[in-house]
């Protein structure tokens, strides 16, 4: 009995101790695991001499503000290994852990911002700027020439914030069209059905019907995740009509000099009627709005889709094309010129969009030890040397020397060792933070032009033949979204929900054209009730500001 009691006491002390101790250590280590804040004085540029990259070691932390983004470890691929060794730059990744929004909020509250944050333009950047958390680049622009030279004044002006200063370093900015949006067709099925014309929306409908009949296990039209094809195909029902107008991110259609409601827009309604018909005829996936991306990928790479319309169909298409053509030289994918509604000019149909600002931006936190050094590095990375190395590895591997325009001279290995090359390029794809579209695309195209037909890359071929010619410049419509917690932002959230619901209902639940239109009418009524007019007014004003900046 006495022994039992003793054992109990000993046990309970042990239990209590371990529990409290693990509690403490757990908290402690998670705290110190965070990025070191580095409360060094923020250098404001000014009269200091330009920072020379590679003279002294530079280390900074990097955070990609995306759920899906995980930065590859720095120095583990050939490109960053070279940069680490030769430029003495080390980048420490900070992971979003799949919860980017929570992660950033936590870092803001704890006052431990990463040195570089890589994120979408717009509300989040503005929040950081208004709080004085990020560094303006204006003093550095002349000292480090690449960004200014390659992006151009116009693009930089568009990126400037209300106070006239530049806080954002753009990624994949451009002055020429780029993008992959369009219509991809399963070559084997297309040939077996006798290569019917696929020019108009009626052609497409008839073709899909044929596919459905002859190939019951194939999805006639793959619409992609969240049914992105519906957005894209609005471009087929009007000339000079980028799909952006009626997408969730814009929800405003220009006519004259104002932006108007998407729910009353004739083109948007016509597209929904078209897709409702496709859905009822079982010509698109029945789980279009809920299927995960992996499911789409599987259908494409196994050739189980006859037509695939997406903003980047080539991504899965390239893999699918090489897999399918390996087994059967007749199989694979081709792209076709964008379809259009009967009576429209096919050269004025734009299924894709691009804007000069490119994709996203990097901002540098004020808590960074030496913001100027970081800017110097990003500027180097976006310049020709940085781009060559981060895209195609260090010199001597797949390229050797440059021509008079600084485009790399690709070696034999570039076309002979495609596997090694693709591996290298895939390993650095998530390190392309400050991509220079014009330089990279032109270097690529210059080289492709010298190759015989059979050696050309599948993706580049379609880019030069079709997709780059059918992308629409939407630079004037950037940054129309209000901040999430502003009055307009709250309206935008409500209207966005009405939009998503109405769109899905119009496709999935409507039984006739009249139903689709009735759903849209109801959505318009609901949207006006939550203040859509005010949101449109805000967007119109922002649009006009953009036009003024662009001098259009």
């Amino acid at each position: 009995m006495g022994n039992g009691k003793k054992a109990l006491r000993f046990g309970s002390v042990l239990l209590a101790l371990t529990l409290t101790l693990t509690g403490c250590t757990g908290g402690g280590s998670s705290g110190s695991g965070e990025a070191k804040g580095g409360s060094g004085t923020s250098a404001e540029g000014g009269g200091k001499d330009a920072y020379v990259l590679g003279e002294s070691p530079l280390e900074f932390s990097f955070y990609g503000h995306y759920d899906w983004y995980t930065m590859p470890n720095w120095g583990e691929d050939k490109a960053s290994e070279w940069i680490k060794a030769n430029k003495k730059v080390n980048v420490v990744p900070i992971s979003s852990g799949g919860q980017a929004k929570q992660k950033l909020s936590t870092m803001i509250v704890s006052g431990e911002l990463p040195d570089v944050m890589w994120m979408e333009r717009g509300a989040d950047v503005e929040t950081l700027r208004k709080a004085g958390a990020i560094v303006p680049f204006d003093d550095y622009l002349d000292k480090y020439p690449n960004l200014k030279k390659w992006a151009g004044e116009e693009t930089l002006d568009m990126l400037r914030s209300e106070d006239g200063k530049l806080y954002q370093f753009p990624n994949w900015y451009t002055t020429q069209p780029n993008g992959n949006a369009g219509y991809m067709v399963n070559k084997k099925i297309y040939n077996e059905l006798g290569k019917p014309s696929l020019e108009t929306t009626e052609d497409l409908y008839a073709y899909l019907k044929q596919v459905k009949e002859k190939y019951p296990d194939v999805v006639p039209l793959e619409v992609g995740q969240s049914a992105g094809a519906i957005d894209i195909m609005t471009s087929a029902f009007a000339e000079n009509r980028p799909y952006l107008y009626s997408s969730l991110s814009m929800m405003a259609v220009p006519s004259g000099d104002t932006l108007n409601s998407v729910f009353t827009d004739g083109v948007f309604r016509e597209t929904l009627v078209y897709f409702n018909q496709l859905y009822r005829d079982k010509l698109i996936s029945q789980d279009a709005f809920t299927q995960p991306l992996e499911q789409v990928e599987q259908k494409i790479i196994t050739g189980k889709a006859a037509v695939y319309v997406a903003s980047s169909p080539t991504e899965f298409g390239a893999i699918g094309n090489s897999l399918l053509s390996e087994e059967d030289p007749e199989a694979g994918y081709i792209m076709v010129w964008p379809v259009h509604k009967e009576g429209l000019d096919k050269n004025k149909i734009f299924p894709g969009t691009y804007n000069q600002l490119g994709w996203n931006v990097s901002v540098i936190s004020k808590t960074a030890k030496d913001p100027e050094a970081i800017f110097a590095f990003l500027d180097w990375l976006t310049g020709p040397e940085g781009q060559r190395i981060s895209m195609w590895g260090p010199e001597g591997l797949y390229w050797d020397g440059v021509d008079e325009e600084e485009a790399p001279l690709f070696t034999e290995a570039f076309t002979a060792d495609t596997k090694g090359r693709d591996e290298l390029m895939n390993s650095t794809v998530n390190l392309q933070w400050v991509g220079n579209t014009v330089y990279v695309d032109n270097s690529k195209m210059k080289f492709e032009a010298t190759l015989p037909e059979e050696k050309k890359s599948w993706e580049t071929k379609w880019q030069s033949e079709i997709t780059w010619k059918t992308q629409y410049d939407t630079t004037e419509f950037v940054n129309l979204s209000p901040a999430g917690d502003s009055a307009e932002g709250i309206i935008a959230q409500s209207v966005g929900e009405i939009y998503e619901k109405a769109k899905a209902q119009a496709i999935l639940n409507a039984g006739s054209e009249a139903d689709v239109l009735a759903i849209m009418d109801q959505a318009e009524k609901d949207a006006q009730q939550v203040g859509y007019a005010k949101l449109l007014e805000y967007k119109t004003q922002k649009w006009k500001e953009n036009l003024a900046k662009l001098g259009r």
């Binding site: 109990l8 209590a16 789980d287 709005f289 809920t290 929900e497 619901k501 899905a504 999935l508």
Partner: protein
């Protein structure tokens, strides 16, 4: 030896010991409770200051001290929001359905398992039925989605081969099926695990009562209603009170994953998903906190109410 003399000396004092003395006497037991108390204090009580956010225009950069106080602004906005009534209706309907179907189901399963004579069979059923509890909702919703899919979904294939339907039904995009799918999936996932408590309670019922009832000529059903159920009633009522306190937590992960289709928002938007969407996704922290606080307040009221009602049967929590 020492221990025994110590105890004897304590017992000699006779006078009623004070609270501290009593705690001191059971210090070993108290020590075991301490980590749990600390846990609750640190993770449940200290963070409560965060509800103050609901009365501020909270800014991440300015924190609590810097953000302006705005009184009940966010509550007023929430009550006036166009989604308010949809969200409240969905929350109440879904949780009532879960309570009505999901609460009695494990009791029923426990009663049925208790009557199974074959030990092995009983063990196997029990194990299989409580396994889904350990699967995350991500996996369960994946199962459900592929089972209900129109292309190669097993449910549609079954219905078609039985000639019950001609065309596959797109279950997950039709609002009228959503509540059924949600509640059924929830029951399937939790029924086994929830029944463990009731099985334990049934095991504690004195067998002599059953024997006596059998002697008096009570059949199996009679025994269940007159002996087993009344005996486990205190446990059932305690769990019912807790379930009512959670009535406004209609669910989060299950709805978020199964109801991702925008068509389902009219029937699938509940308080928790609404708070998540507005607060975390759109950075409206104060507004979301106000909505969350409103939910908690109603939850407490329901709990107290249910407990008050249960007190009359003598089985209340406090």
């Amino acid at each position: 030896m020492q221990n025994t003399t110590h105890r004897i000396s304590v017992e000699k004092q006779k006078a009623k010991p004070s609270l501290f003395k009593r705690i001191g006497r059971q210090w070993d037991l108290q020590l075991m409770v301490l980590p749990a108390l600390l846990f609750i204090l640190v993770f449940s009580y200290i963070p409560m200051y965060g509800v103050l956010m609901a009365f501020q225009d909270y800014s991440l950069f300015d924190g609590f001290s810097g953000s302006p106080w705005v009184g009940f602004k966010h509550f007023e906005m929430f009550f006036g929001a166009p989604e308010f009534w949809t969200v409240i209706r969905n929350t109440i309907v879904i949780s009532l359905l879960k309570l009505l179907i999901g609460f009695p189901a494990p009791i029923l399963l426990a009663l049925m398992l208790n009557e199974v004579k074959h030990r092995m069979f009983k063990k196997v059923v029990q194990t299989i039925s409580y396994l889904p509890h350990f699967l995350s909702w991500v996996i369960v919703s994946g199962f459900v989605m592929s089972m209900l899919s129109t292309e190669n979904g097993s449910v549609n294939m079954l219905l078609q081969s039985l000639n019950l339907v001609k065309e596959p039904i797109n279950f997950l995009s039709l609002p009228e099926y959503f509540w059924t799918i949600l509640v059924t999936t929830g029951v399937w996932k939790e029924i086994g695990f929830a029944s463990i408590v009731y099985l334990a309670a049934i095991a504690g019922v004195d067998p002599s009562m059953h024997e006596a009832a059998a002697m008096d000529g009570a059949g199996k059903l009679r025994q269940i209603f007159s002996i087993t159920l009344p005996s486990i009633m205190p446990v059932v009522i305690v769990f019912l009170i807790l379930a009512i306190g959670n009535l406004l937590s209609a669910g989060f992960e299950d709805i978020l994953l199964l109801g991702s289709n925008p068509v389902l928002r009219d029937v699938g938007d509940v308080l928790d998903t609404y708070v998540y969407r507005t607060g975390i996704q759109n950075n409206r922290y104060s507004y979301a906190t106000a909505a969350g606080l409103f939910k908690s307040l109603l939850g407490v009221l329901l709990l107290v109410g249910a407990n008050y009602a249960a007190r009359r049967s003598g089985n209340s929590l406090w």
